[in-house]
């Protein structure tokens, strides 16, 4: 441990990635061997979901690595781009009308860049209220000016919701990088890493737990695998992982356990909510509507982060007064 502490923050983060990619490589190797050994006819669905989650973990890790490599400015732009692509996917599946055009332009080309600009400038007070207060007000005004009363509330609600999840939620990820704790300069990447790992672990464990426990699903219409117990097991395991990683965070072990539990629980619940939305839109995965042919469902991958990041960010900020 002493040797580790003597490393510079950059070296510590570098080491972290080395360990992380190594572990992922091992799991992937193991999974592909397991896949060769057996034919998975009856458990095929759960197995495929596990593979998908594993892939999501890879994507998350690479994403995080790139964000760290490119520094605060780079990572803000990076997450801004992800937010853009996620919102694009979200809006595609909502039945917007012609008269929503101006509102959508506002969302994509004004709200989104501004929100990420505010993050980049570390104006955390403005950043917190910009979308809930100002944009919440501006969107229906622009919509009303288009002069189409047809399903007005519904159309606005969809766009507002998309903005909150894809822009507001995701913008908290780079904000974590820029949060300044005492004696923790330059280590914001660890905090984001902590969040990403904890939510990803919760997701994978919940999936596996639902496979082994075979509990009655809580809401069969929405998800056949989501049960209270599997959700709790996922969050619980992730919380202990979080506690074990306390030394990379500004938290003490107990604090890390609690914040990890909060983040993990929110992430998996967020995924559950997204599932409900997907059912409503009549698709299995986000992405292109005729997307069986290999469109990337980006929103699928980052939905847990979109939900977990704001709760994590604000509870940490509130508790530690930073």
């Amino acid at each position: 441990m002493g040797a580790l502490r003597r490393l510079t923050p950059d070296e510590q983060v570098g080491l972290l990635f080395l360990i992380l990619f190594g572990a992922l490589l091992l799991v992937t190797l193991g999974a592909s061997l397991y896949g060769l050994r057996e034919r998975h006819d009856e458990g095929g669905d759960a197995w495929q979901r596990f593979i998908r989650d594993l892939r999501a973990l890879w994507v998350g890790t690479v994403l995080f690595w790139l964000a760290w490599l490119s520094g605060p400015l780079g990572s803000t732009i990076f997450f801004g781009l992800f937010s853009f692509l996620a919102l694009r996917e979200f809006i595609t599946l909502q039945h917007t009308r012609r008269s929503d055009h101006r509102t959508l332009i506002l969302a994509f080309f004004i709200v989104l860049p501004l929100q990420f600009l505010i993050v980049g400038l570390r104006r955390f007070d403005l950043f917190t209220v910009f979308i809930p207060v100002y944009v919440f007000f501006a969107v229906p005004v622009v919509s009303a000016l288009a002069g189409d009363p047809h399903r007005f509330l519904e159309r606005n609600a969809k766009i507002q919701w998309g903005i909150v999840v894809c822009v507001y939620g995701l913008s908290h990820a780079p904000a974590l990088l820029l949060l300044e704790f005492e004696d923790y300069e330059g280590r914001g990447a660890f905090l984001l890493f902590f969040l990403v790992v904890v939510t990803a672990i919760a997701q994978v464990v919940q999936e596996l737990a639902s496979r082994w426990l075979r509990r009655r699903p809580l809401a069969r219409q929405i998800s056949r695998s989501f049960s209270f117990r599997s959700w709790f097991v996922g969050a619980f395991v992730a919380a202990w992982f979080g506690a074990a990683m306390y030394w990379i965070t500004p938290f003490k072990a107990g604090q890390a356990l609690v914040v990890a539990f909060i983040a993990a629980a929110c992430g998996t619940l967020g995924e559950f909510v997204m599932k409900a939305l997907k059912r409503d839109a009549g698709v299995h995965q986000w992405g292109n509507r005729a997307g069986v042919t290999g469109a990337v469902g980006l929103l699928d991958r980052i939905a847990p982060l979109c939900f977990a990041a704001p709760v994590f960010f604000h509870s940490v900020r509130w508790y530690f007064q930073v």
Partner: protein, 206 residues
């Protein structure tokens, strides 16, 4: 790399960023055979979308049709249609002594592929309008050229008529199985068949 190549790259990047420009080859593979692609027409972006959905090496051999009076009116419009897209210019005003299809026939003789929108104009109300007869005449003169139907989906949401700024929404181009003009097939029957081939590619809405 020329300026036209750079412009092509830029336009392709923008089209992908805004619409995804996914090509789904359902009825035929994207090969370098000589083809006439015919599609529904809902927006100014239709051509760019098909062009971006094509594999890179097919793009230079696949040409759009451009109205001569409009697309040569300024140097920039002329440059972009001529250098970047290699467009075939047609005159919109019909003169008695000239066949309006002549430039298209010329391009097909050279071995190029074409993209045409047989409705003749943009429609934004559900089903495509009745096809104009140009497709029939081309099929008659070039029986060996494949006629590939295509459906462009969602693009009217990206840029509805009258708007100038596109909104990012995922679009797809679905390419279907080639159709053929049967011997002695009636013109109207053939055009209706072509139209229903295009409509048949529309992705089912849940």
């Amino acid at each position: 790399m020329t300026r036209a190549d750079l412009m092509g790259l830029l336009l392709n990047f923008i089209a992908r960023l805004i619409t995804g420009a996914q090509g789904h080859w359902k009825g035929c593979p994207p090969t370098a055979e000589q083809r006439i692609y015919f599609a529904n027409h809902q927006s100014h972006l239709d051509w760019v979308l098909i062009w971006a959905a094509l594999p890179k090496d097919l793009r230079s051999k696949t040409r759009p049709i451009a109205a001569k009076d409009y697309w040569t009116s300024t140097p920039f419009k002329h440059w972009i249609t001529r250098e970047v897209f290699n467009a075939v210019y047609v005159a919109r005003q019909r003169t008695d002594d000239q066949d309006p299809l002549e430039p298209l026939v010329e391009a097909l003789r050279q071995g190029d592929s074409l993209v045409i929108f047989p409705e003749g104009t943009r429609s934004n109300k559900g089903d495509p309008q009745v096809f104009k007869s140009g497709l029939y005449h081309l099929a008659e003169q070039f029986p060996d050229v494949q006629l590939v139907p295509a459906w462009i989906d969602n693009v009217q949401r990206v840029m509805p008529k009258g708007e100038v700024v596109p909104v990012p929404i995922l679009c797809t181009v679905t390419f279907g199985a080639p159709i053929k003009l049967e011997p002695d097939e009636d013109k109207r029957l053939f055009l209706d068949r072509a139209r229903s081939a295009v409509i048949g590619l529309r992705p089912r809405v849940n």
